[in-house]
């Protein structure tokens, strides 16, 4: 069974952390992953940087620009990760935009992921219908889970469709925004969290966007299975480097 599905069966709320590969330094990838696991993080999203990250706010944009300047590429990331499963056992997901995957070759990319022990992909600009028609078989052939996003504006009908295509978890974007744009949740999010919980979807949901501390983590996971932190973590490594990751994680999930 895929590590993601296994993890989702555990009877606890999950903390997933996103970081941009190649940032702050080109060779930080392995250190960040190992330190995150040691700090008790449940799942990791490894960001493959892209020149034009449409869905990201300034924090992740800047980290992507810097990572590309540092020389990060798909090929280099795969090289860095080749022995990762000797030391790390939590689920690892690659998150990025579709174009670099397309240029690498979708099948070649998936095959490489399987060899390394990557468990899933999140490609926000790969539409669910295109995935279902053209790529689902390839992903499944290489044991990869594809994760799709929903937002407060996504209709119930479309959420049901996304649920039917998914086989892992649903990435629940907390508000209509780019990453890192808003912090904290209001009544609108409460309503949205309740609405989704009441839909009794077959895939568990993990909330992302707007989570930066213990309070927002607790709010997000009241009903959802877990929460994802991206921009706040990038800010932490920007300010403190990669050696105090445990401090950051302790503050979220004591």
């Amino acid at each position: 069974m895929n590590r993601i599905n296994q993890k989702l069966k555990e009877g606890k709320k999950l903390l997933s952390i996103y970081f941009t590969a190649g940032y702050p330094n080109i060779n930080d990838t392995i250190t960040i992953i190992q330190n995150l696991e040691k700090s008790g993080v449940d799942m990791i999203e490894i960001g493959l940087p892209f020149s034009d990250p449409l869905a990201d706010g300034p924090t992740i944009q800047d980290s992507s620009t810097k990572a590309l300047q540092n020389g990060m590429t798909s090929e280099l990331l795969f090289q860095q990760l080749k022995d990762i499963r000797k030391t790390v056992s939590i689920p690892l997901i690659i998150m990025g935009y579709f174009n670099p995957v397309m240029q690498y070759g979708v099948e070649a990319f998936c095959k490489k992921c399987q060899e390394i022990g990557i468990d899933g992909l999140i490609l926000p600009d790969l539409p669910v219908d295109v995935y279902a028609e053209q790529y689902k078989d390839t992903f499944e052939k290489y044991g990869l889970i594809s994760v799709f996003l929903i937002t407060p504006q996504t209709s119930d009908e479309r959420i049901r469709y996304i649920d039917s295509v998914s086989d892992g978890f649903i990435y629940m974007v907390s508000s209509a925004s780019t990453t890192g744009a808003k912090s904290g949740f209001g009544n609108a999010q409460e309503d949205y969290f309740n609405r989704i919980a009441n839909m009794k979807l077959s895939n568990p949901q993990i909330v992302g966007f707007g989570i930066s501390n213990n309070e927002t983590f607790m709010q997000a996971t009241k009903q959802a299975k877990g929460a994802i932190i991206g921009s706040a973590f990038i800010k932490h490594v920007t300010a403190n480097g990669v050696d105090t990751i445990d401090t950051f994680v302790d503050n979220i999930k004591p």
């Binding site: 034009d52 799709f148 996003l149 209509a176 780019t178």
Partner: protein
């Protein structure tokens, strides 16, 4: 074979809507409504009225006698430069502002490179009393000061795009991010035949007035509707899409595209996407784009700010790949020379974008009886400083 869009939003293998889920409701709302709205008699009436009384359409189809003599063929110029605001861009912004109103939107965003589309958007927003925010690369703001001033005078807010290379592609990214953050009240007026479906088709349809007029105007001049060739410059490709539209499936009409080769196709400073690009995803559509082997989008170069976009619209990728269109590229030098030539032969100073289309004569020889219609997409007032610097006027 059809060269127009299919029911799924693709031109051949190009097009589609490769967008993050956050944009799906906005784009889907547009997709479900755009054809219906455009078909409404009241919409058509208002659109045509504004094109006539406000834009000044129909734009003349002018027989360029001296240019024809020089190249020993029959050249007609479709005078989009005579439109209000000085280019073809306004055909699309008029259409889209009416669309935005029908969809109940109250806030307009747009991207702009040289500022022409920004000005055309600010103009229609003033006309309709709508809030207008134009994203423009910080570098472009510095080099296109007169258009920035125009937009401000028209009441628009010009927001600098500070990310990436701080030019057109980044302004487009910022506009898309704004739309993600404002999904309910905002309409995004994309300025070229690019973006996720239905944008390329919607923009093309609003610009198709160009080829619609060419047909009946040519009939008046020559007694027949179809020229032998239609020629246009291509950045994203909206004037080209409009110029080709009614001739797409008539293979008796040759389709010619001229891209910007900058300092030479292989100089490393070029915007000749068909020659240098590979299939990929940019700004929500699958098309040809300039990128690294690793799939990072690269920064193009052209002396013309309106052509330095790293992709082309999906219609044009299909025209290129299928062989339906003949693609050429003109260097900065060829374009500037062609622009000067038009000024001196016909008394028309073209936009530098348009000068690229005029440079077709240094790449292709036409027959004496050929009827060649060139889209004169914009006027050169905005480029005067460039012409001054280049020719030391």
């Amino acid at each position: 074979m059809s060269y127009n869009i299919n029911e799924k939003g693709y031109y051949g293998e190009f097009g589609g809507a490769f967008i993050p889920e956050m944009l799906y409701p906005n784009v889907e709302e547009l997709r479900q409504n755009y054809l219906k709205v455009m078909a409404e008699p009241l919409f058509q009436e208002e659109f045509n009225q504004l094109l006539k009384d406000y834009v000044g359409r129909p734009s003349p189809l002018y027989f360029a006698k001296r240019l024809s003599e020089k190249y020993n063929t029959k050249v007609y110029l479709k005078r989009e430069d005579l439109n209000h605001t000085g280019a073809h861009k306004v055909n699309n912004t008029i259409g889209q502002i009416l669309m935005a109103k029908r969809l109940g939107k109250t806030r307009i965003i747009a991207e702009t490179g040289a500022g022409q589309h920004g000005v055309a958007t600010a103009t229609v927003c003033a006309l309709m009393g709508m809030e207008c925010i134009v994203y423009m690369g910080e570098i472009d703001i510095a080099r296109q000061a007169p258009n920035v001033a125009r937009m401000k005078m028209l009441g628009a807010e010009v927001r600098p795009a500070l990310s990436g290379s701080r030019t057109l592609k980044d302004a487009t990214n910022e506009a898309i991010r704004d739309w993600i953050n404002n999904p309910v009240d905002t309409h995004y007026i994309i300025g070229s035949a690019i973006g996720p479906h239905p944008y390329p088709d919607m923009v093309t349809r609003f610009q198709s007035i160009i080829s619609e007029e060419i047909k009946w105007q040519l009939k008046e001049h020559e007694g027949k509707e179809n020229p032998d060739y239609v020629v246009a410059c291509i950045g994203g490709g909206s004037n080209a899409a409009g110029t080709y539209y009614h001739f797409l499936d008539n293979e008796d009409v040759g389709i010619i595209a001229v891209e910007a080769a900058g300092k030479g196709i292989h100089s490393g400073e070029s915007a000749a996407t068909s020659a240098l690009g590979k299939e990929g995803i940019i700004h929500g559509c699958k098309t040809l784009l300039m990128q690294t082997n690793d799939g990072q989008i690269t920064e193009p170069y052209s002396i013309s700010a309106g052509l330095d976009y790293p992709g082309v619209g999906p219609m044009h990728s299909h025209l290129y790949k299928s062989g339906r269109g003949e693609f050429y590229s003109a260097t900065d030098d060829e374009a500037m020379t062609a622009g000067l030539e038009l000024a001196q032969l016909e008394g028309i100073i073209p936009a530098i974008e348009t000068s690229h289309a005029l440079a077709i004569f240094s790449h292709k020889t036409f027959e004496p009886n050929d009827i060649v219609v060139i889209s004169l997409s914009g006027r050169g007032d905005k480029d005067l400083q460039n012409y001054i610097d280049y020719f030391k006027l």
